[in-house]
């Protein structure tokens, strides 16, 4: 059914359709509308779940951990400082191989305090073992949650999935979305069938400590399964298209890249702006293309290489930075292209931090500076402010 709803509402409806048994919620802007919508759905009996109003994000993730360990599908959402606070629990959940879905609403990290959008928060979790998918628009956000549970609970994966969506840009904007029916989702996503769980009928110990003689092998296996999850991400994307008729690419998607000389790489909602800008470039005669990276973890090295094979220049645009290094995505793209006989120059532009808009002007600046040979730079800085520092 097509509705014009807020992005947060689209998330809530998608999550409701996935039939979580336990929802834990701690409020933090700009995630709040998601948990508020779910709360109303539970209060009205539309969604049959235990809604746990926890006292911190650390506990929000831990409640989900306990619920999934006991054999019930669980959900939570967070952003920014909340993501940082629950960080150790996120590592723990992935390490314990407990499948669940958390919406990572993308927001800048303090300090300074900022409630506005960038991707530093979910980037900070990239080492944790969570599968991370980035959505471009609200329809994709909605569909991605349904795909996420299917990916996480697959025996080949057994890793939690984070659906990343830009805060305010997607959470607080109204778009027309097609909401599937409960029957459609039930046919696509069966009930959670745990491989093992806490049950007096068949008791297990979960979370024993590992000595040096086996820890490394455990982590090796997690790495193997995480890398193998790439195929499951692709498979689920194909199955979703067959069942629901919508496609967003699997691990990545390309726009006008077939004959592109310069390919611009990014993740999330900025892709929409970049596609429009790309069309404007093409009007001017520039051979630009856009590569939307959808699956950041596991990182699809082979697919990226193939998509960038004929590019003469690659420009990575990201809303994150590793302070003291360069762009995070830029570094990973460079690493993915390393070792080939011919590698195009890869430029890294950091933009859009703390909610700074990325406009056509920003993208023009990015293009000019890359063409002038700059390797890594901040785009869209306010000149007067920088000069007065």
């Amino acid at each position: 059914m097509r509705k014009m709803i807020e992005g947060s509402r689209a998330v809530a409806e998608a999550v409701g359709l996935c039939r979580p048994g336990v929802i834990s919620a701690y409020p933090i802007t700009p995630q709040t509308h998601i948990v508020e919508e779910l709360s109303q759905m539970v209060a009205d009996g539309e969604t049959d779940a235990e809604y746990v109003r926890v006292e911190s994000e650390h506990s929000a993730a831990s409640v989900c951990l306990g619920a999934v360990a006991a054999g019930t599908r669980a959900y939570s959402a967070t952003t920014s400082q909340g993501m940082m606070l629950m960080a150790e629990v996120l590592y723990n959940i992935a390490g314990m191989r407990l499948p669940m879905v958390i919406t990572g609403v993308n927001r800048a990290l303090s300090a300074p305090l900022s409630i506005w959008n960038d991707q530093q928060d979910t980037m900070a979790i990239r080492d944790s073992g969570w599968i991370q998918l980035y959505a471009e628009n609200n329809q994709e956000v909605l569909d991605m949650h349904i795909q996420a549970y299917k990916i996480a609970e697959d025996d080949r994966v057994l890793l939690p999935v984070m659906v990343c969506m830009d805060g305010f840009v997607l959470t607080h904007t109204y778009e027309t979305v097609d909401v599937p029916t409960q029957e459609q989702v039930d046919a696509f996503l069966p009930p959670y069938d745990p491989l093992y769980k806490l049950d007096p009928a068949d008791p297990y110990t979960l979370g024993a400590f590992a000595g040096p003689e086996m820890y490394q092998e455990v982590r090796y296996q997690i790495q193997q399964d995480a890398l193998g999850a790439k195929e499951v991400v692709k498979e689920v994307a194909r199955d979703f298209q067959a069942a629901f008729g919508r496609w967003y690419g699997d691990v990545l998607d390309t726009y006008r890249c077939e004959d592109a000389e310069t390919i611009y790489v990014a993740m999330g909602s900025v892709i929409g702006t970049m596609k429009d800008w790309c069309d404007a470039r093409r009007e001017e005669g520039g051979k630009a293309g856009v590569l939307k990276l959808r699956c950041f973890r596991p990182f699809p090295q082979d697919e990226l290489r193939a998509a960038l094979a004929r590019a003469k220049r690659v420009v990575v645009l990201e809303k994150a930075i590793t302070v003291g290094g360069h762009g995070i995505l830029a570094a990973e793209v460079r690493a993915a292209l390393y070792g080939q006989r011919e590698t195009p120059p890869v430029h890294g532009a950091v933009a859009g931090l703390g909610g700074r808009d990325i406009t056509f002007e920003t993208l023009d600046e990015v293009r000019h500076r890359a063409e002038a040979g700059e390797a890594d730079f901040f785009a869209g800085l306010r000149r007067a402010v920088v000069e007065a520092m």
């Binding site: 191989r97 069938d193 491989l195 297990y204 110990t205 979960l206 092998e217 399964d225």
Partner: protein, 95 residues
């Protein structure tokens, strides 16, 4: 594990689950050099020794016939010290 799986499921990932009671393979008996010896004549069957043993390796066969499982007994002496009737003595064990 689920009893109604239609296709065979994977093995649980390494190190994620540990079998209940697998500690029983770890015989802690060799830890200590003292062993409790029970005087059934003095015993009143109060069950203090069986209750407070940290290992849970003291049991009674009949009401006043207590013994320790030396495979797990660490020789801490708590049973002997706690016995209100002096019915347990700690003896050095020579193996």
């Amino acid at each position: 594990m689920t009893a109604t799986a239609k296709k065979p499921r994977r093995k649980p990932p390494l190190g994620i689950i540990t079998r209940p009671g697998s500690s029983l393979r770890n015989k802690t008996g060799p830890w200590g050099i003292l062993r409790p010896v029970f005087d059934w004549e003095k015993c009143t069957g109060c069950n203090t020794c069986e209750t407070i043993c940290p290992e849970g390796c003291v049991r009674h066969l009949e009401k006043k016939q207590y013994e320790a499982d030396y495979e797990y007994c660490k020789g801490c002496g708590m049973c002997a010290a706690a016995c209100p009737f002096g019915a347990i003595a700690m003896r050095e064990e020579h193996r």
